[in-house]
């Protein structure tokens, strides 16, 4: 078995996961992880699968593309190297950064640039920009890991200053707070 990552993109409709997994099953592939999400009406799915050595990457693509392109779906596959699994883990604490404020271009780029400069890893991002000035219509929620040895104060201050410059209301809270309140 070799490991492949497959991504599927296209307009959402019933039967996408069924179609993808039927093809994988027929080709004797083993699914290890699946994640899917729907943004507005667009479907996006990522599959990590074990593929038999006998099945070439070109053949896998052909099977998937034949089955999925009639449904208007785009498929992309990539071989996973073993080295991919060993991103050196950094000791970190999970935080949730939330912003609300008027929509404009470059908001995500501005916030994430500061995070990246402090080696903060974004583990989940939900952003909705419906436009206009209603703060609740324009929200970014970042779940992030902040390295323990990062300069927390400088990070907070830079984020706050940037948020102020962009007229955003920002909140930086430890993830445990959300867990304590929302999870039993």
């Amino acid at each position: 078995m070799k490991k492949m990552i497959i991504s599927v993109l296209g307009k959402d409709r019933p039967g996408i996961i069924a179609a993808v997994t039927r093809i994988l099953f027929e080709q004797n592939c083993n699914i290890e992880n699946v994640s899917q999400t729907i943004l507005q009406n667009e479907f996006s799915g990522i599959f990590i699968v074990g593929v038999p050595k006998s099945l070439s990457e070109a053949d896998l693509h052909r099977h998937l593309d034949d089955g999925l392109s009639p449904m208007g779906l785009h498929v992309y596959e990539k071989r996973l190297s073993e080295a991919n699994e060993s991103r050196t883990a950094v000791e970190s604490e999970p935080f949730v950064v939330t912003t609300m404020g008027p929509d404009r271009k470059g908001l995500v780029a501005a916030i994430t640039a500061i995070m990246a400069s402090h080696r903060v890893n974004v583990t989940n991002l939900q952003a909705v920009f419906k436009g206009g000035d209603d703060p609740y219509a324009n929200i970014m929620i970042y779940e992030v890991d902040i390295p323990n040895d990062a300069n927390h104060q400088a990070l907070r201050q830079e984020l706050r200053e940037k948020a102020l410059a962009l007229s955003l209301d920002i909140s930086i809270q430890h993830k445990l707070i959300f867990e304590a309140i929302n999870r039993i």
Binding site: T98, V128, I139, I141, I172, H174, L176, I177, A180
Partner: protein
């Protein structure tokens, strides 16, 4: 991964609704500091307190920083001094109070509680010395808080002690006449005092407690009010069963945060975590008021007919939500209605909606009692004692904690204004029935026996 709604509701609670941890209180056992030599005793006490609490404020600040949730007050409670310092006379008790004040100042806590005596069944030598020292001790110190338990469901009401407290409160007021009787704001008289209250002025560390313990007082009247406002806004026809559910859910959330912070502070300090006290404790700030909740519930003001039942609903819902949220609940756990400390309640008193009698009725269904009530300076010792005794009876018969923190403001009369400052707030002086009259019933003294339902064994 959290949903957008979950995230935003938490952010909202933190940002706009004054969600905080009201008090992290480190309980310190002083019983092994015992000595009949006052110098040795105070040295031991000072060393014990400053040793145990050395990092309290620093650790609280760090946890506050990490979670972005303010720990508003860092405090210390100690073993009842009347027990720990039983051999001493009143003058020596004053020295002990000053030592406590110095230790509290040096570790940067705003209050230290435990200048206390437990006299519900009788007054021992140490108790009498401590009570005698109280007026001067509360005048000469800034941070020391005192409490005296004069009644319990198991023991009855010690009217001799109640009379003594009437006298003591008058004297404390007289000594701080230039500050509207401020010393009395640091003195609580209790029935059924719990051993683990984190809130001042009633905090002390019970004799049944360990060497050191962290107790946490959560708060959140602002959060409860906003939750009610939001729910009523989206459904104006909400019935009271549904209101109770909303308060319960909110209390749950607030308590979870309190416990999270408390446990983390305790872990950092290497001290056992004690209890979460689920009380709605107001401050004189707008948006942080228990009184405002009554208006959100649809009453014209706290004090009008319907206030007692509203408070009963509120108090019960807070307890139910909190009890599910925390594995260790203790202290007072109920809603506080301190008049001067809650802007809205003191306004209700000023506008004539709230009388001392209605306050007393409300204390039947909530924790604490006649709290931070400013009364005319010419109220007699006997009348003070009678008000205290009435409040104690409510606690003793209903098997609950009640207390009084009364301030007979020297030289001022009903309708005048008393100002205590800071968290203690300000208030109009409330009229008292038969303030200067005599009370032969109380003057008989003695012990009112415990009620029949205390015989439970």
């Amino acid at each position: 991964m959290f949903s957008e709604r979950e995230i935003l509701s938490v952010v909202e609670m933190l940002k706009n609704e004054n969600l905080d941890v009201r008090a992290v209180t480190l309980g310190i056992n002083l019983l092994d500091c015992a000595s009949d030599d006052i110098g040795r005793f105070t040295d031991n006490v000072y060393a014990r307190i400053t040793g145990a609490a050395r990092n309290l404020v620093k650790e609280c600040d760090e946890v506050e920083d990490k979670y972005g949730i303010p720990v508003v007050n860092k405090r210390i409670s100690v073993s009842p001094i009347a027990v720990a310092g039983a051999p001493f006379n009143a003058e020596q008790m004053l020295i002990v109070a000053k030592t406590l004040n110095e230790a509290a100042t040096d570790v940067r806590v705003d209050f230290i509680g435990g200048f206390s005596a437990l006299v519900e069944k009788g007054i021992a030598r140490g108790d009498r010395a401590l009570i005698e020292a109280m007026p001067q001790a509360l005048t000469d110190t800034q941070r020391v808080c005192a409490s005296v338990n004069v009644a319990s469901t198991r023991a009855g009401i010690n009217i001799d002690a109640v009379l003594l407290m009437g006298k003591t409160i008058k004297e404390a007021a007289r000594l701080t006449a230039d500050r509207d009787g401020l010393a009395c704001a640091k003195l609580c008289v209790f029935a059924n005092i719990p051993q683990d209250i984190p809130f001042m002025a009633g905090a002390y560390l019970g004799v049944g407690e360990a060497d050191a313990v962290i107790n946490v007082g959560v708060s959140g009247p602002g959060v409860v009010k906003k939750a009610i406002d939001r729910a009523v806004g989206s459904n104006p026809d909400l019935n009271l069963g549904q209101v109770s559910e909303i308060i319960k859910h909110t209390a749950y959330k607030v308590t979870r945060i309190g416990e999270l912070i408390g446990r983390e502070v305790a872990q950092h300090l290497g001290i056992k975590f004690g209890v979460v006290d689920l009380s709605l404790a107001p401050t004189p700030n707008v948006g942080d008021s228990v009184g405002e909740i009554f208006q959100s519930l649809g009453l014209a003001s706290i004090g009008v007919p319907g206030s007692t039942v509203a408070l009963a609903l509120l108090n019960d819902a807070v307890k139910k939500g909190g009890a599910f949220a925390s594995s260790k609940v203790g202290g007072l756990s109920g809603a506080f209605i301190p008049v001067s400390e809650d802007l809205n309640i003191s306004q209700a008193a000023a506008q004539g909606h709230l009388s001392i009698e209605k306050l007393e009725a409300m204390t039947c269904v909530c924790s604490v009692g006649l709290d931070m009530v400013a009364i005319p300076g010419d109220t007699s010792e006997e009348t003070l004692a009678a008000i205290i005794a009435d409040e104690m009876a409510i606690g003793v018969i209903n098997k609950k904690t009640t207390a009084t923190r009364l301030i007979p403001v020297p030289g001022k009369k009903a309708g005048d204004h008393a100002f205590f400052g800071g968290l203690l707030g300000e208030s109009i002086i409330m009229p008292v029935n038969n303030a200067t009259g005599e009370n032969r019933f109380l003057r008989r003294g003695g012990l009112i026996p415990s009620p029949i339902h205390s015989l439970v064994n």
